[in-house]
């Protein structure tokens, strides 16, 4: 192979590593001190890019030259730093003690809010930033042209590493930050105001995110959607490097940058697959990444369903529910039936997630993987083998179960935040595959023409089919939750060490839980594919995973029926509100934040709590 080509590939790998490191470094510092995985970090990166792409051209009009350009970049990063402070004071400060699931959801709420606000403020168009004055001409490297701006980026990573290192090693702030990373209570006992320390840390983290974003403007245009793509990569970097470790993030970014640069030669379309393989291998050998430590990972915060006295007259309630489901087509029109069908599907999807989160304490942030696998499995069977619905649905379910088996094999070794990150990464990879493997999956357009068999087509029969399958599966899962297997999962959720000490094989139980839960989610996905007649990559996306989590949160994570109610309420509200406003994400994001802050028990949980208080 041509050595000049290899050199240029290696250099471009270094420059993307630098960019990635600057952003991921902020994420890992914030996590180290606050123990919060800040989903909104990608949003801060996006704000940095938009701000710089808007601000720098104005400064250049004012006075053209490198000074204006770099001042604009730094100013954008400063603005983002201040936004980070605002987020800390308004939100993060209130959830430092909350379970990690709530922290993840609340910061994802910020992501949704920012997505709508960015479009509102900067407009829906992509904004291409100016090129850096003085760095427009490419340089020649071994006879090949290479953008000189990329060389600056290559230098920027080590410079930031050096400055952060000096800040953490040579200043009082840095010493206190490192001390707080290890023992927050002790730092307070020494008279240090943690609130100020945390706010300072958030400023630093947000500044770095903003800088990472601002530095991108000569390379890529600022666009909506860059928040989620960078956050997935930044998560991989921090997880592989070890959460909270700055040198780890640097090393991981270097490795990943090179893998992406040369991965193109192996998988021309999906370098993410290579990155994922790296993450899987690293975590299999070192479950806490290059330089991470076990004690930093939370996992003590698991919340989930609690035991309650069985409801009196449960059988009657069940009969009433069945009767109501059966009688619904008599009163509903085709549109309502379609809504009800989707609600049932999402109820099944959310309920399958409850087995992992509520029962197993396994905070999966990538449950869409199994939903999407079920949908794609069914759709691919129809498209490529002309399978009927009766064959395609079980095939989709099997594909989801198989996916859960593979993903589960890796993630059951992990716990807490690492598990959440790993499941998220897995779902993102599948998303990338569905998006990029156009020949097979149809790419962004997805697969169309996925219709149910003759006997099940039409709103009423398909509703009946969905209702029957959902009911049976939910009852089956319900039975599993109350079986010794469910108790074993709950025991492991509440205390891993004690559960292991009484002889439970935790990993095996959790692996099985992943497969059962994945299979149920796959069935929901398959049903969804046939109800829509099509599938597309968004079924595998983060927002689908977050939908399920929001349903859980809304209904009540500590209750068994919560996810079912939550699915119904959320889907109904979405159906009613979304057509009325272009700010659905803003509304949803604010609602998620409000629920975490004010209403963490959820609907069913609150009613239950209220009943128990009265009793």
């Amino acid at each position: 192979m041509d050595p000049s080509f290899l050199a240029v590939q290696a250099l471009s790998g270094l420059s993307s590593a630098s960019s990635l490191f600057i952003t991921a470094c902020g994420l890992t510092i914030v996590f180290g001190v606050t123990r919060i995985v800040n989903f909104a970090h990608g949003s801060l990166y996006m704000i940095g890019a938009y701000t710089a792409a808007t601000l720098v051209p104005r400064l250049l009009e004012f006075s053209f030259g490198p000074t204006s350009f770099w001042a604009g970049i730094l100013l954008s990063a400063l603005i983002v730093g201040i936004i980070g402070v605002i987020i800390e004071v308004l939100l993060l400060r209130r959830i430092y003690g909350a379970p990690e699931l709530f922290q993840l959801l609340a910061t994802f709420g910020v992501v949704l809010v920012v997505q709508d606000l960015v479009i509102q403020i900067f407009g829906p168009e992509d904004i291409l930033g100016p090129r850096a004055p003085g760095l427009r001409a490419p340089v020649e490297i071994l006879g090949r042209r290479f953008p000189s701006y990329e060389l600056v980026l290559i230098a920027a990573g080590p410079v930031v590493l050096g400055l952060v290192w000096l800040l953490l090693r040579r200043t009082r702030f840095g010493v206190l930050v490192r001390a707080a990373t290890q023992d927050r209570d002790m730092v307070a006992s020494l008279g240090v105001n943690q609130a100020m320390l945390f706010t300072g840390t958030l400023f630093l983290g947000a500044f770095l995110a903003g800088l990472g974003g601002a530095l991108q403007i000569p390379r890529v245009s600022a666009h909506a959607g860059m928040d989620l793509s960078i956050i997935a990569e930044a998560f991989v970097v921090t997880v592989v490097g070890g959460m909270g470790s700055v040198p780890g993030a640097f090393l991981a970014a270097l490795v990943i940058g090179q893998l992406q640069a040369f991965g193109i030669l192996i998988f021309p379309k999906s370098t993410l697959v290579v990155v994922f393989l790296l993450m899987a291998v690293v975590l299999a050998i070192r479950p806490y990444g290059f330089f991470g430590r076990a004690e930093i990972v939370g996992g003590t915060h698991a919340i989930g369903i609690a035991s309650h006295k069985p409801l009196p007259g449960r059988t009657y309630i069940l009969l009433v529910v069945i009767a109501a489901l059966a009688a619904f087509p008599l009163v509903a029109d085709a549109y309502l039936l379609k809504v009800a069908t989707e609600i049932l599907i999402f109820a099944l999807f959310a309920f399958s997630l409850q087995l992992l989160i509520g029962v197993g304490g396994l905070v999966s942030f990538g449950h869409a993987a199994f939903f999407g696998l079920g949908a794609y499995g069914a759709a691919l069977a129809v498209k490529w083998y002309g399978a009927s619905m009766e064959t395609a649905l079980p095939l989709g379910l099997a594909l989801a179960a198989l996916g859960a088996m593979l993903i589960g094999a890796f993630v059951v070794r992990l716990s807490g935040i690492y598990l959440a990150m790993m499941t998220l990464a897995a779902a993102q990879i599948l998303y990338a595959v569905a998006f990029q493997w156009v020949d097979v999956t149809g790419g962004d357009n997805g697969i169309v023409g996925v219709w149910p068999s003759q006997w099940a087509s039409g709103p009423v029969p398909y509703y009946a089919l969905t209702a029957a399958l959902t009911l049976v599966t939910v009852l089956l899962l319900r039975r599993i939750i109350d079986a010794p297997f469910g108790y074993a999962l709950r025991a492991a959720r509440d205390s891993e060490a004690r559960a292991e000490a009484i002889g439970l094989r935790i990993r095996r139980h959790r692996w099985l839980a992943f497969m059962i839960s994945g299979a149920a989610a796959g069935l929901a996905g398959g049903l969804y594919a046939f109800s829509r007649g099509s599938v597309d990559p968004s079924l595998l996306g983060i927002s689908t995973s977050v939908d399920a989590l929001t349903m859980l949160l809304l209904g009540g994570i500590q209750t068994v029926t919560g996810p079912l109610i939550g699915a119904g309420v959320l889907h109904f509200l979405r159906d009613q509100i979304m057509p009325l406003t272009s700010y659905w994400r803003l509304v949803l994001g604010l609602s998620i934040i409000a629920m975490v802050l004010l209403f963490p028990r959820g609907l069913v949980g609150t009613i239950r709590h209220w009943q128990e208080q009265r009793a």
Binding site: L176, T181, G191
Partner: protein
């Protein structure tokens, strides 16, 4: 001359969940004195210190330090009033060097008093002087204990809550701890010392306070407790 009381806590009650662990406990500390808080394992010594420090929620009818009401003050503000705390498990920052650990505790001294500096502290704990660049996780238990005390002294406190400094430490170092506490006392620092090591506590305590199952059983001078063998045997087993 009647001195002003430094730390004054009355009717302290604390709970872990629904279980009450401290019952109407009252304790006070005058400037420059060493009070030994004695009691068996689980009697509530550590809980008392944590409750005073605001690290666990507790209620008291009256709680002041240097005349400031402690009430619901956050821990860092209590510490800033000049009340130092050395926890029983020492809680050294293991990733930080000796010098950096000292830096975390640094606070300006009140005017008119010679501030503690690393150099002065190294004279008090000569072992630490030889390992200024060493990280906390490469130190022995005794060295960590010295560092924990030195770190708190860096805040120039008027009083220190010292939780079991002799626990798990070689006898020669225990002797050094006793010397250090006497030196602190000579500097005017009051010490509320939670201890299980009777000989150690009897050697340095001016007053003693015995608690049993979260209640005060005895409060008086150390000499009185030394004389009362019956009470000692009953409550402390010594």
């Amino acid at each position: 001359m009647k001195r002003d009381v430094l730390l004054d806590v009355r009717h302290l009650n604390a709970f872990y969940g629904r279980a009450q662990v401290l019952f109407d406990l009252s304790i006070h500390l005058y400037p420059g004195e060493v009070v030994a808080l004695l009691g068996r394992n689980g009697a509530g010594k550590t809980t008392t210190l944590k409750a005073i420090m605001g690290l666990i929620s507790a209620t008291a009818t009256h709680a002041t330090f240097k005349g400031h009401t402690l009430g619901k003050l956050p821990t860092y503000k209590i510490a800033r009033l000049g009340l130092g705390y050395v926890p029983e498990d020492r809680r050294i920052f293991t990733d930080l060097t000796v010098d950096e650990n000292l830096e975390t505790g640094r606070r300006e001294a009140v005017a008119g008093r010679a501030p503690w500096t690393p150099e002065r502290l190294f004279r008090l704990f000569p072992n630490l002087a030889e390992m200024r660049g060493r990280r906390g996780n490469q130190m022995s238990g005794g060295e960590q204990q010295m560092l924990a005390i030195a770190r708190t002294l860096m805040g120039n406190p008027d009083a220190i809550l010292l939780d079991e400094p002799s626990e798990g430490i070689a006898p020669v170092i225990v002797q050094m701890m006793a010397d250090a506490i006497r030196a602190m006392k000579a500097e005017g620092v009051a010490v509320l010392l939670s201890e299980q090591n009777w000989a150690f506590a009897a050697g340095i305590g001016d007053r003693a306070c015995v608690i049993e199952r979260g209640e005060i059983r005895f409060q008086g001078s150390m000499a009185e407790l030394v004389a009362d063998e019956g009470l000692r045997t009953e409550t402390l087993g010594v």
